[in-house]
C-alpha cells in the first residue's frame, strides 16, 4: 500500500471509527433503536480500531525493513 502513499487499512479504520461515534450518539439521542445502534457502534469502533492498529503496525514493519535494507547497502 505504501507505494501509493496511502495505507488503506488506516483509511478504513478512520472511516469506521467516525461512523461508530455517530452511531453511539444516535443510540443516546434517538427514541427507538438504542440497543442496536449501541451494539453496531461498538462493533464498528472495534473494527475501525483494529484496522488502524494493523496499519500502524504495518508502517513500523516497513520502516524497520527499510532501515535494515539501507544498512545492508
Amino acid at each position: 500500500m505504501e507505494n501509493n502513499s496511502m495505507d488503506l487499512r488506516s483509511v478504513i479504520g478512520w472511516f469506521f471509527m467516525i461512523i461508530s461515534v455517530l452511531l453511539l450518539i444516535a443510540s443516546f439521542t434517538t427514541e427507538n433503536g438504542h440497543e442496536i445502534n449501541l451494539i453496531t457502534g461498538i462493533t464498528f469502533l472495534i473494527f475501525g480500531g483494529v484496522m488502524y492498529l494493523l496499519s500502524r503496525n504495518g508502517k513500523k514493519k516497513a520502516k524497520a525493513a527499510k532501515a535494515a535494507a539501507s544498512k545492508v547497502e
Binding site: S5, V11, F16, I19, L22, A26, N32, I36, T40, F47
Partner: protein, 566 residues
C-alpha cells in the same frame, strides 16, 4: 412506483445525513489523494500492477457486489428462496477456484494488460476486436443497471427524482474514478465491501431475531421447498426457478458462472493488477472464501422478508406498478422496517456504496479495454503515453455518460438479475468456449475462434428471439409472424438455456473450423496454451499460499453446503 414512494419514504435525521456525507467525503478523498500518483496510462488504467493481494481479493468480490448482487439477490431470495444460492455454491466459488488454478497463470504470465489482449496473443486481432467491443457494450449495460438501481432506490426512499438521483450518483463516481483511476476504484471497492457487509449484517441479525431464528424460518416456510437447494430440481415444474438440474448445472454452474468469473475482465482485472503470479492466482481463490458466505448477507434477507409477510401484518414487500410484488424493493423495505435512525443512515449508505462499487468497477474495466484494445490497437497506434492517459480519462467521462443513457433503458425490466443474466448469456457464454478451447486445445485457430464467437452470440440472440418466458423474448417469432418455439416457466430458466446454446454453438463452430484452417506454430503458443506451457511448481509455497490446497478446501466446503441444504 408513485403509490409505494409514500409508503417507502424514509425519515432521515441529521445523523443519517452525516453518515452519508462522511462516506462521500472518504470516497472523494481517496480519489483526491491518489490523483497525484496518476502519471502514466499504466498507473491510471492498470494501477501499476502494485496492488496487494488482500486488497485485490476484496476488490475482486466487491466489483461484483453491485446492484445485481445486493438488490437483485435479495429479490431472488424472496422469489426463489435458497435456490438462489446456486449462484454461489454451484457457480461462483468453483469458477473462482478454476480461474485461480488454471487460467490466471496464462492471463498474468502472458503479460497481457486485458482479457481481449490475451485473445490477441492467443488468436488474432479480429477476435480481440470482437471481444473488446462486446465487452465494452456489456460493461456499459452493467454500469447503467447499477445506476438505475440506485436511482429507483433513492427515488423510493428519499423522494428524489429518478433523474436527479442519476446525476448526483454519476458525478460522484466520475469524480473518484477520473481522479484516481483504477487504484481509486479498487481502494473504494474495499471500503465499500466492509461497509456493505457490516452495514447489512445488523439487518440479518434483527430479521432473524424477529422471525425466531432459522427454526422460525423453517417452521413458517414448511410445505414449500424454498429452503432447499436441490429438492424439486428433477423437473422445471417442481421448483421456483422453473428449470431442471441439467439446465442448472450446465447453464448456470458451468457456462454462465465460468463465463463470468473466468473471462469477464471486470473481475479478472482485479487479479491482474497484483504484484506477482502467486498473488494473481490466490486473489480469486481467497475471494471465493467470503463469497461462499455472502448468501447470509444478500439472500437471507429476502427469505426473512417472505416469513415476515406471513407473521408480521405491518410488513409487506412493496407492490409493483403492474401488479405482483416489486422484489427489487425487498431489501430497502426491510431497512425501513427494522433500522432506527443512525443505523438507517449506515444501511442506506451501504446500498449506495454497492451501486457505486458496481458502477465504478464497470467503468474502470471499460476505460482500460477501450483505451488499450480499441483505441491503441485500431484508432491511434504509437502515440505518447500522455496521450493514452488523456484518452483513458476522456473515456471514463464517456463511460459514465453512456451508463446514464443505459439506466433509462433498464427501467423497462422488472428483475435486474434476470436482465443481467440475459446480457451475460449473449456475451460471456460463447466467450468462455473460446477461452476454454484456446487455453486447453492447441489446435484451436484464430478463424475458428472468431467465427465461433460470432455464431455463439447469434445463437444466443436467436434462442431469445424464438422462445418466451414471463412475457419476455419471442421477438424473432413475432417478426416472422409465427408462434414462439418454446415457453419457459421462468426468465431464469430461459437465460440458462440461452447461455447453454451459445456455449455449445461457439464450441462446435470453433472446433469444426479449426479442423480446416491453418493453426499457429506451437512455438508461438508457449505460455498461452496449457499443454505447451511448463507447469508451475507450487510445492514450495506454504499451504495457505498454495492455490491447489486452498482451492481444494474451498471446493470441499462448497460441496458440504450443497449437501447440508439439499
Amino acid at each position: 412506483m408513485a403509490p409505494q414512494t409514500k409508503k417507502m419514504k424514509l425519515h432521515l435525521n441529521l445523523i443519517d445525513g452525516l453518515v452519508i456525507f462522511t462516506y462521500f467525503i472518504f470516497v472523494l478523498g481517496i480519489g483526491y489523494v491518489l490523483k497525484r500518483k496518476m502519471k502514466t496510462s499504466n498507473d491510471f488504467l492498470m494501477s501499476g500492477r502494485s496492488i496487494p493481494m488482500w486488497v485485490a481479493s476484496l476488490a475482486f468480490i466487491s466489483a461484483n457486489l453491485g446492484a445485481q448482487e445486493v438488490l437483485g439477490m435479495a429479490a431472488s431470495g424472496a422469489k426463489y428462496g435458497l435456490f438462489t444460492t446456486h449462484f454461489y455454491w454451484l457457480g461462483a466459488a468453483i469458477a473462482m477456484v478454476f480461474l485461480g488454478i488454471f487460467m490466471m497463470p496464462f492471463y498474468y504470465g502472458s503479460k497481457a494488460r486485458s482479457v481481449p489482449e490475451y485473445l490477441a496473443l492467443r488468436y488474432d486481432e479480429k477476435t480481440r476486436g470482437f471481444n473488446a467491443i462486446t465487452f465494452a457494450i456489456m460493461t456499459i449495460f452493467s454500469s447503467g443497471i447499477s445506476l438505475y438501481a440506485l436511482a429507483i432506490l433513492l427515488e423510493a426512499m428519499l423522494g428524489w427524482s429518478f433523474s436527479s438521483s442519476i446525476v448526483v450518483a454519476s458525478i460522484i463516481v466520475l469524480a473518484y474514478t477520473y481522479l484516481g483511476g483504477l487504484t481509486s476504484a479498487v481502494y473504494n471497492e474495499v471500503l465499500q465491501f466492509f461497509l456493505i457487509v457490516l452495514g447489512i449484517a445488523p439487518l440479518v441479525y434483527l430479521g432473524l431475531h424477529h422471525v425466531g431464528g432459522w427454526e422460525g424460518i423453517k417452521h413458517n416456510l414448511e410445505g414449500t421447498n424454498l429452503l432447499h437447494v436441490w429438492k424439486g430440481m428433477g423437473s422445471a415444474s417442481t421448483n421456483p426457478l422453473g428449470t431442471n438440474w441439467g439446465s442448472l448445472v450446465f447453464g448456470l454452474g458451468f457456462v454462465l458462472a465460468f463465463g463470468y468469473w473466468c473471462t469477464d475482465f471486470l473481475v479478472v482485472q482485479r487479479a491482474m493488477v497484483t504484484k506477482n503470479i502467486n498473488d494473481a492466482q490466490m486473489t480469486p481463490i481467497y475471494a471465493s472464501i467470503p463469497k461462499i458466505f455472502m448468501p447470509i448477507i444478500v439472500i437471507l434477507p429476502g427469505i426473512i422478508a417472505l416469513v415476515l409477510m406471513k407473521t408480521d401484518p405491518s410488513y409487506t414487500i412493496p407492490l409493483a406498478k403492474g401488479g405482483g410484488y416489486d422484489y427489487n424493493m425487498t431489501l430497502p423495505s426491510l431497512l425501513q422496517h427494522f433500522y432506527p435512525n443512525g443505523l438507517l443512515g449506515v444501511g442506506l449508505t451501504a446500498l449506495i456504496a454497492s451501486f457505486m462499487s458496481g458502477m465504478a468497477g464497470n467503468v474502470t474495466a471499460f476505460n482500460t479495454v477501450f483505451t488499450f484494445d480499441i483505441y491503441q490497437s485500431y484508432i491511434k497506434k504509437g502515440a505518447s503515453d500522455q496521450h493514452y492517459l488523456n484518452v483513458g480519462k476522456a473515456v471514463t467521462v464517456f463511460g459514465i455518460a453512456a451508463s446514464v443513457a443505459t439506466a433509462y433503458l433498464a427501467r423497462s425490466f422488472d428483475n435486474i438479475m434476470d436482465f443481467l443474466q440475459l446480457v451475460f448469456g449473449f456475451i460471456n457464454a460463447p466467450l468462455f468456449a473460446t477461452f476454454f478451447l484456446g487455453m486447453f486445445w492447441k489446435k484451436a485457430t484464430a478463424n475458428g475462434a472468431f467465427y465461433g464467437l460470432i455464431s455463439g452470440t447469434l445463437a444466443a440472440a436467436a434462442t431469445h428471439g424464438l422462445t418466451v418466458a414471463e412475457g419476455k423474448g419471442g421477438w424473432l417469432s413475432h417478426l416472422l409472424g409465427s408462434q414462439p418455439l418454446y415457453e419457459y416457466g421462468s426468465s431464469m430458466g430461459q437465460n440458462f438455456n440461452i447461455a447453454s446454446v451459445a456455449f455449445i454453438v461457439c464450441f462446435l463452430v470453433t472446433w469444426l473450423i479449426s479442423l480446416f484452417t491453418q493453426r499457429r506454430k506451437e512455438s508461438e503458443l508457449v505460455g498461452l496454451v496449457y499443454s505447451l506451457t511448463e507447469r508451475q511448481k507450487t510445492g514450495h509455497y506454504v499451504w495457505y499460499k498454495n492455490p491447489v490446497i486452498v482451492g481444494s478446501l474451498v471446493v470441499i466446503v462448497t460441496i458440504a453446503f450443497n449437501i447440508i441444504f439439499y
